[in-house]
């Protein structure tokens, strides 16, 4: 009786450990398997890039995405700091786009649940443009944007 209970607990433990590692590896594989796609980063119009990245589906304007540190006027387009945070739950991906750059997509960040929704980076901006942030959360896309006036462009970013 006792022995079988021990066996039972052992079996239970191994199953749960197995389950956890499985969940971990599934998560890792989704993050690792998304390759860097040249076409996503290619030069083209902002609308084309948006369509390629997010399809024709709805993008919801959201006030739950906060942009900070981004200046209203950037004297040097080569270094434009930005911090993005959000109170949205289950965030999978944050994309940063600069509307007027020759290749609009600047960066995509795939976050695991171990990270808070908070990313800082420094962008290059060719000229005055909207900086558009798209947050993917539970399969839906949320957007916020802000205009940055650029005095000196960032070497043809």
């Amino acid at each position: 009786m006792l022995k079988s209970r021990r066996k039972f607990i052992k079996a239970l433990l191994s199953i749960s450990v197995y389950g956890l590692t499985m969940a971990g590896s599934i998560l890792q594989s989704t993050m690792a398997q998304t390759p860097w796609l040249k076409e996503n980063f290619s030069t083209g119009s902002f609308d084309q890039t948006m369509r390629r990245l997010f399809g024709a589906g709805d993008i919801i304007d959201s006030n739950k995405i906060k942009i900070s540190r981004l200046p209203r006027v950037a004297e040097n387009g080569a270094i434009v700091p930005i911090t993005i945070s959000s109170t949205l739950e289950h965030v999978e991906k944050i994309s940063i786009l600069v509307e007027q750059n020759p290749s609009p997509l600047s960066a995509e960040f795939f976050l695991s649940p171990a990270l808070a929704v908070h990313v800082s980076a420094r962008l290059k901006m060719a000229k005055t443009s909207n900086v558009v942030i798209i947050v993917q959360s539970a399969g839906k896309y949320y957007r916020t944007s802000r205009l940055v006036k650029v005095t000196t462009g960032g070497c043809g970013a």
């Binding site: 971990g24 998560l27 890792q28 993050m31 690792a32 998304t34 860097w36 796609l37 996503n40 980063f41 080569a78 270094i79 434009v80 911090t83 600069v98 750059n101 020759p102 290749s103 997509l105 600047s106 960066a107 995509e108 960040f109 795939f110 976050l111 695991s112 171990a114 990270l115 808070a116 908070h118 990313v119 800082s120 980076a121 420094r122 962008l123 290059k124 901006m125 960032g154 070497c155 043809g156 970013a157």
Partner: protein
């Protein structure tokens, strides 16, 4: 010497991870002093693990500034935990660094 500098800091119960990478992030549109085109050379892939568990993958373009800086907030994170960073650029060059949270 590694091209990656990593620092961490406790912030509101989270661990802030800051990184600075030495890389030209050239977009291929620039020219040198002699008017010769500078070929594109920029990081495409950035990856961070926390105790061997992947916590971030980023796809980057050349419109990230030269010598890129990033920061992220790890929800947990204890003294002695390992943070590893690695990057790959469009020419296939890679580098990585490991940091132990102090």
């Amino acid at each position: 010497m590694s091209s990656i500098k990593i620092r961490t800091k406790r912030r509101d119960g989270h661990t802030q991870i800051r990184l600075l990478i030495t890389h030209p992030m050239a977009n291929g549109r620039g020219k040198d002093k002699l008017g010769k085109a500078i070929p594109a050379k920029h990081i495409t892939l950035l990856s961070i693990t926390h105790n061997d568990l992947q916590i971030l993958t980023a796809h980057l373009s050349a419109s990230i500034s030269k010598n890129p800086y990033f920061d992220f907030l790890l929800k947990e994170g204890n003294q002695g935990d390992t943070i590893s960073i690695s990057w790959t650029d469009n020419l296939g060059k890679t580098d990585s660094a490991t940091y132990i949270i102090k």
